[in-house]
């Protein structure tokens, strides 16, 4: 079992997401994260899929993805050869007395204050998966009321 980041360029049409997701769900694979968006071409979308699984089975899934008529290109994004980012929104319990130390922690991670109320504070933080994981870990003693992440997006590094 290992983590794979699969980038799939597809026709920007209805139903394509269901076809792609179906190949994973049919094998009982849970997708860890999924980000879908438009690309530089209006008629092409890109899906970045993060999934844990057996290498050989995922090799098979990639071949099956390539067989889908609406799939244009499938590529594997290794950590070393691609740039990866995700964004998280995290709402913390934050009484006035704790505000100072929480803001100090946020500053270390360059998390931005997105919203603030009498009892809570909401941060927006972007970056690598590991950085966001660590911020959540350190913020959790204050009490996380709600947290969500966009899913990873990944782009290949240019070779000179």
């Amino acid at each position: 079992m290992s983590q794979h980041i699969i980038s799939v360029r597809v026709e920007n049409k209805f139903g394509v997401l269901a076809r792609v997701a179906g190949l994973f769900s049919a094998r009982g694979y849970n997708i860890d994260s999924l980000a879908v968006s438009k690309t530089e071409h209006d008629d092409i979308s890109v899906m970045t899929i993060v999934v844990n699984g057996d290498d050989r089975i995922l090799e098979q899934v990639k071949k099956q993805l390539n067989k889908l008529i609406d799939v244009i290109k499938v590529s594997d994004h290794a950590q070393s050869s691609s740039i990866q980012r995700e964004l998280a929104l995290i709402k913390l319990n934050c009484p006035a007395a704790k505000r100072g130390e929480i803001l100090q922690l946020a500053e270390l991670f360059k998390a931005e204050v997105a919203d603030i109320s009498l009892k809570t504070i909401t941060f927006s933080i972007k970056g690598h998966t590991e950085k966001i994981d660590r911020f959540i870990e350190l913020a959790s003693p204050y009490g996380i009321k709600e947290s969500m992440r966009t899913g990873l997006v990944s782009i290949l590094k240019e070779k000179d």
Binding site: A18, R19, G22, Q60, N66, I69, D70, V71
Partner: protein, 560 residues
């Protein structure tokens, strides 16, 4: 000039040279049927949509052309599902048209609405929901292209009724351009040369040919390869007929109920040459013991089939026919006399056999053998699924492709009769025989009236043992003989049933009547004939490699 959507559909089918359309009417497809009334397309009205799609499938397999089906929304569409899955697993080219409720009603739980594109997504090669009439002709063109090229398969087009009733200019596209779909046809020359060298240096090679050889019409090239190299051949269930089973180099079918010599040859080989086959579990048995000493060359058009179940040493992705042609240009014969002699001996010592008794019930294997003899092997055989299918595979010897038509991958009971209708329409010059069981035949028996209506002289040979025989066999061998709900001897009178449907019914209860009954059936040429062969109740199919077991655990015959 603008024409109606329904006219665009029918005109497109005409442009695709559709000879037969199989289907069943319903509310939202009335506009299409309205246009079919005068169209130069022969419509075959089934009595259940499942019958229509299996008939289209049988037509496609017998002719090599694309089968076309039309059904209504809701239950019409869901009744097609088993047929779509059957065609998908056996790579049969079908274009399936379904009606859909009006676009503004979709998602509204409208009368006879189902999300058929959602339902068929994992069991079709591709599918479409037409949302704009301007896309209609292009989608039909693409559907025929996708269904019949690369690794073929079923493509469904769901057509809302307002699209059929809309108006648009008709221009049928001349070409198709789909950027995400570009099948590879030419094998890589370096891989082809590597494969040839490996074959030339092998000592114990065996060719394992599958349905892909039939689909790519490569039987001639396969025979040429064998002629040049002298390598023995085994085939899968769906590959039967690609190499003549009457030839000494034929090891016939391999797998769970394959011949002992085919399984012996594969297990002991040092090189397995897989051509258009996909290493199904019914072929390999316990995968770790399948080919302990062999390297593998795999020729297949579907890259996803390569190294799926068995790791391949030399993959060649492309069309079997083209690749075999290239190989035949450069290949030289390996030195394998010793191996060929060894296999000939194993074949002599372990023939397919069954115990003939002087008295008593008819042996089902004997019926199949006599069908083979009395048709001189020239018939097209369709089958149902179960013991009847395996005996039809073992005891009828196939010498030409597209003469054995059976649901291999999905194992669909009720396939044989409607498939026989499609096959007989495709090949009026051949006798078509459905080798059936008393269980399977009842699954689509309503299609008998379609065969009678079209005066098709299909022979339905029921091997009637009063059991769902294959499940009973497993219960006997592996489940303490607890025949739980597999006894079906509360059965219709098949002779009277034949007569009720305007067919001829013949009952055979003794071995000595078998030939006369077959001869009588063969003499009838204007209606279907049911022969109800009352066969041994508890006959088993042997040899048998139990599921997940190895060739060493083959059960050769009845254990005392």
């Amino acid at each position: 000039m603008k024409i109606k959507g329904s006219q665009i559909i029918v005109e497109s089918l005409i442009k695709e040279n559709v000879e037969y359309l199989f289907g069943y009417p319903g509310g939202v497809v009335i506009p299409i049927f309205h246009e079919l009334y005068h169209a130069p397309i022969k419509f075959v009205l089934s009595r259940h949509e499942q019958g229509a799609i299996h008939a289209a499938d049988g037509y496609a397999r017998a002719s090599g052309r694309t089968g076309v089906v039309l059904a209504t929304s809701g239950p019409g569409a869901t009744n097609l599902i088993t047929g779509i899955a059957t065609a998908h697993l056996d790579s049969v080219p079908l274009v399936v048209l379904t009606g859909q409720v009006s676009t503004n009603m979709i998602g509204n739980d409208a009368f006879q609405e189902v999300d058929i594109t959602g339902i068929t997504r994992p069991i079709s090669k591709h599918n479409y929901l037409v949302q704009d009439i301007k896309d209609l002709a292009r989608i039909i063109k693409e559907a025929f292209y996708i269904a019949s090229t690369g690794r073929p398969g079923p493509v469904l087009i769901d057509i809302p009724v307002d699209i059929s009733n809309g108006m648009y200019d008709f221009e049928y596209p001349k070409e198709v351009s789909i950027r995400g779909y570009k099948p590879t046809y030419d094998g890589h020359p370096v891989q082809i040369s590597k494969a040839c060298r490996l074959i030339e240096s092998s000592k114990k090679p065996i060719i394992y040919a599958g349905g892909g050889v039939v689909i790519s019409n490569a039987a001639e090239e396969l025979r040429e390869l064998v002629k040049k190299t002298g390598i023995p051949v085994t085939t899968t269930l769906l590959g039967m007929g690609t190499y003549p089973e009457t030839d000494p180099l034929s090891m016939e079918m391999l797998g769970m109920h394959g011949t002992y010599y085919a399984n012996y040859a594969v297990h002991n080989s040092d090189l397995l040459i897989a051509i258009g086959a996909r290493f199904d579990d019914r072929v390999t048995g316990k995968i770790s013991d399948f080919i302990p000493n062999a390297k593998v060359i795999h020729i297949d058009i579907d890259p996803a089939s390569v190294s799926k179940n068995v790791l391949v040493d030399i993959p060649i992705v492309g069309d079997c026919k083209k690749i075999l042609k290239e190989m035949n240009k450069e290949i030289k014969a390996p030195k394998i006399e010793e191996w060929v002699n060894e296999l000939k001996k194993v074949k002599e010592d372990n023939p397919l056999q069954y115990e003939m008794k002087e008295k008593g019930d008819i042996k089902p294997q004997y019926v199949v053998e006599q069908l083979y003899k009395l048709t001189e092997g020239k018939a097209i055989i369709t089958t149902e699924v179960g013991q009847n299918q395996m005996w039809a595979a073992q005891f009828f010897k196939y010498t030409e492709p597209r003469t054995f038509i059976s649901s291999g991958g999905l194992g669909t009971m009720g396939f044989g009769l409607p498939a026989a209708i499609g096959a007989q329409l495709a090949r009026p010059d051949k006798r078509v025989i459905d080798i059936a069981g008393d269980g399977s035949i009842q699954m689509n028996i309503q299609e008998l009236i379609v065969a009678a209506q079209h005066k098709l002289p299909i022979i339905i040979a029921i091997l009637n043992n009063g059991f769902l025989g294959m499940v009973r066999q497993w219960q006997q061998l592996f489940w303490d003989k607890r025949y739980s709900h597999t006894c079906i001897n509360f059965a219709p009178d098949f002779v009277k049933l034949a007569e009720a449907y305007g067919c001829v019914g013949i009952r055979v209860t003794e071995q000595k009547e078998v030939d006369a009954a077959i001869k009588k059936a063969l003499s009838i040429t204007d209606k279907p004939i049911i022969i109800d062969f009352k066969v041994c109740k508890e006959e088993n199919v042997y040899p048998m490699v139990p599921a997940g077991k190895t060739i060493k655990e083959t059960i050769m015959r009845e254990l005392a």
